[in-house]
Symmetry: C2
Subunit: 575 residues, 2 copies
């Protein structure tokens, strides 16, 4: 049975069914100028429901009680959520926390909280309870939507908590919540809700661990999300005929704006609670998936899963987080998966630049092509401006410098990536001081160190703190990793600085062996270390060669799949 | 030789060559917030030149002296034009008139005038000299860019006139103008120009004959053009691999924003001075054309040209102006041309709604499908809102009513199409009174009469009360009447549209003869008709000249003395 057929056979709850003569227009003041409509990505869902009411919007198939919503039904559920929030006392600008793996509820939340003119605060599901407590407190959230598996994280919350059992069936507290919303609406429908008049109003509050200890709250805007989502949909070629598979967690920078890019395109989305390779491969091969997003580490797992096989139709994979290695690139291409390498941050709504492919790269040998593709590239159409500038030092008073000087386009000189534009965060929540410091001369300073190549492509060398100062030389941990990953026995590798009595710091590599090669090195990790160091010496300058190589079973990762280099650095320092 | 190869062999003028280390960033104040960049479609060209400097941007092949510009070269020429205008005294907000068939100059003008922060005022090339005079006067244009074939229209202008001979070679006054710009720039490049800080600033001033006698100046904004162009590029599926053929005149509502949609996509554009079917078919079959826009009358000619043959690869044709007939639809489909039916006005930057195809239409018989496709449909993603409302009547004081009531979705009840959103005109130039009247309760009243179908599709029934769409041009019946009434033998005259097999519609005049002159024409009405047509040809552009003249004893009128044009249209249609 196809997903479409499953939708035909599925019976949504009575409260999820829209009235016969539905109107998708929110209330809007007559006085506003007719030529200027405040940008708001909620418009995308409403428009798709209007044009394609019976098209499959959302499929959640891999659970005990699957659900399949058409655009008309899903839009009604979103409207119910908005009314339920308003009835619960949520006012415009209030924060609503969401703690959930990918699920229909968090998909609803990206639309319905918006429709109530409130601010979604998606919380990383892998945080500890004290961390969650801190975010709930700092964000001043007024209500929590939580998945039943994570309800323990908010056990003692002193604000209303709505638990979803992820069933979509009567008896589920989340379903009851939606039903109260429908009843509260008095069937006024969309026209009983107000369109937000200020396009600069906050859409989301996402917490990032940032560079300091405490999570920082990143405020993004309606306007920014509208434009970034448009840019992402355009760049990824999402259309009405696309099917997007949710591998990336939606809580991660609001799923890089894809919740809105998908609805702009009137595309279908398939929701997965967990990163399960058998499920992923089922949908890649059976459900007509055309697009997904993910960090390289997920792509590695996907490419090496036993279910992996060449796809009949090419699929586009948006890769971000770190650059895909030559090995990963070729693995994906063999499977007929086209990787689209983008670069971005929570501060930039996800993707900000893309490594645009040049036609002549196609004919290059894989290794060389991979080196080109690994670069972070140039801005996507809605990103406006990215530069690499000389690292800006603060003056005595701590005031940021006002002049930014571009590094030469030599592919060598290290500078900092700075960005400006409509898809740059608006502010740190309740922290004007940090906000002021984050922007320099009208640009947001990313903290990422990069070079600018002669062809205008940005290439990140490291996060500022990840750079290794080896014998006075700047060694890019990313560049070292790229070379080490070309060793056939390496599945995944991470390189960090380790203190060294003579050189100050030297690179240390943590390596996961390829499953098919691990056996041959059992009990001989020292020999493998020598082999890898030799491999490195043929490819890297002396100061960049790893002094130490440690074979590990796994690497410490954040919930979004990023390797936690700070943890590795601590490990290395203690060795 | 392919167009790409022609570009390789082509040598642009030295002044068209960008410096080695070109920077595509305009000056921007540090003080502006880093998270909010004023929208401006100039960004698209700059970004394409940065990413794909050597890609073919613009091909003008079908002239004695063809030119082929890469994105880097074209961007440099655009920059030269901006500096040349500034040197000529053009200040931000000044209007620059352009009178040209499709040519590299008018393509440049859509970017370069913008880069000088001035306002492009493209003038319909088929207007008479008095009409052009009026527009130049009313717009307060400070400079004119004119094609050599139309230079006679501005012979006595008292502002600077730059003539293009459309050669792209030294000795051409337009080329000299660009060269002065390059010299004036002092090689400060893009960073010597200012980015417009106000995204609501005017981008264009387009004159439309509208419904009243005098042409009306429609002001559109940078923000509107950015968004409309994005919407059009997205909806038409324009990508880096697209090649757009210019059949639609660029002066027509700024080419429906396609000058910017094409540069957003980093696509290639092919320029044609005239609608020449052999040339069009050459490019459709040999130059890899993927997209074009045009009125149905052009599509009819194209489909019936002797060169027409089925294309190997499907091409997308954006059709607007009036609905494609079943006959036209099937003709285009046989040729492997997919028509995309859109609806819009000069007031809406071109396309505002689109007849989105539903999957189940594919299996319908042609006639039935054509009836569906002929509808104007629903808003494109950036258009925000279109409604069909009960015709709003002015109250006693002449103030517009403030409540808009949607017609029922019954496919029968006639209402007026009203629109609001970012791609609705900002104002009538220097006419706050008319602007105020044009907007009702926050919506622009189109004057088009339509019904709303149960599936939410808008279907226009009558394109305005008076307007005549003759060969794709808007002819104002009032303006025609004004000229015809100047004939000494005419007592009263009314002009309405009558269907025409070739031009879509042509004006038909109903005339009551002056009592003192009637006697001399008894039995010689055909001769009078010829005399009046001759009279018209001396005063009106060809498309506005009446094709038929009927002498009548009286005109149907309402009780308040208004001529009932609907009755005349019925009469004309039956003749």
């Amino acid at each position: 049975m196809t997903l479409e057929e499953s939708m035909q056979a599925f019976h949504p709850s009575p409260e999820s069914l829209p009235p016969r003569d539905v109107n998708y227009r929110l209330r809007f003041p007559h006085s506003s100028p007719g030529f200027k409509h405040p940008l708001n990505p909620l418009a995308f869902l409403l428009r798709s429901a209007q044009i394609y009411p019976n098209k499959l919007a959302l499929a959640h198939a891999d659970v005990a009680q699957p659900v399949f919503y058409s655009y008309a039904v899903w839009a009604q559920r979103v409207q119910n959520l908005a009314y339920a929030l308003i009835q619960a006392g949520i006012k415009p600008g209030d924060r609503v926390a969401v703690i959930s793996p990918n699920s229909p509820m968090i998909a609803d939340a990206h639309q319905g909280i918006l429709a109530a003119r409130a601010v979604i605060c998606p919380i990383n599901t892998r945080l500890t309870r004290p961390e969650v407590d801190y975010i709930l407190e700092h964000s001043g959230s007024k209500l929590i939507l939580v998945d039943h598996e994570l309800a323990h994280l908010v056990q003692n919350a002193n604000i209303p908590v709505i638990v979803s059992k992820d069933t979509g069936r009567a008896g589920d507290p989340y379903e009851e919540f939606l039903s109260t919303g429908r009843r509260f609406s008095g069937e006024k429908g969309w026209s009983g809700l107000d369109w937000e008049e200020d396009e600069d109003a906050a859409i989301a509050l996402c917490y990032t661990s940032g560079t300091s200890g405490r999570p920082k709250g990143v405020i993004t805007s309606l306007r920014g999300a509208y434009l970034a989502a448009f840019g992402n949909a355009y760049d990824a070629g999402l259309t009405r005929d696309s099917t997007y598979l949710w591998i990336l967690p939606m809580f991660h920078a609001c799923g890089w704006t894809f919740p809105w890019a998908i609805t702009l395109a009137s595309a279908t989305q398939i929701i997965l609670r967990t990163v399960s390779y058998p499920q992923i491969w089922y949908h890649l091969t059976k459900s007509g998936v055309t697009h997904y997003c993910g960090a390289p580490t997920v792509q590695i797992g996907l490419a090496n899963a036993p279910e992996a096989k060449r796809l009949d139709k090419s699929i586009l994979a948006v890769v971000a987080g770190s650059a895909p290695t030559a090995h990963l690139l070729s693995s994906l291409e063999r499977l007929n998966i086209r990787p689209l390498h983008v670069y971005g941050l929570t501060y930039t709504y996800g993707p900000f630049t893309r490594c645009y492919m040049q036609p002549h790269w196609d004919s290059l040998p894989l290794d060389e092509r991979a080196r080109y593709v690994a670069r972070q590239g140039m801005t996507i159409a809605t990103s406006d401006d990215a530069r690499v500038v000389y690292c800006v030092k603060e003056d005595e008073e701590g005031a940021p410098e006002t002049e930014l000087v571009d590094v030469p386009k030599d592919g060598k000189t290290l500078g900092e990536v700075v960005v400006r534009g409509n898809s740059v965060m608006k502010e740190y929540f309740r922290d004007p001081e940090a906000t002021k410091k984050a922007f320099r001369a009208g640009y947001f300073a990313s903290g990422d160190l990069a070079v600018m190549h002669p062809d205008g492509y940005i290439a990140i060398q490291d996060r500022g703190k990840d750079i290794i100062i080896s014998g006075g030389e700047n060694a890019s941990s990313l560049a070292i990793e790229q070379e080490l990953a070309s060793h056939p026995d390496v599945l995944e590798v991470s390189v960090v600085a380790r203190p060294h009595p003579k050189w100050g710091e030297r690179p240390m590599a943590f390596v996961i062996l390829h499953p098919q090669r691990a056996q041959q090195w059992v009990g001989r990790h020292a020999e493998f270390a020598d082999a890898l160091k030799k491999h490195a010496r043929q490819r890297l300058p002396g100061f960049a060669c790893p002094e130490w190589v440690e074979v590990v079973a796994e690497l410490p990762k954040t919930s979004t799949g990023k390797i936690q280099k700070a943890v590795l650095r601590q490990t290395a320092a203690k060795l």
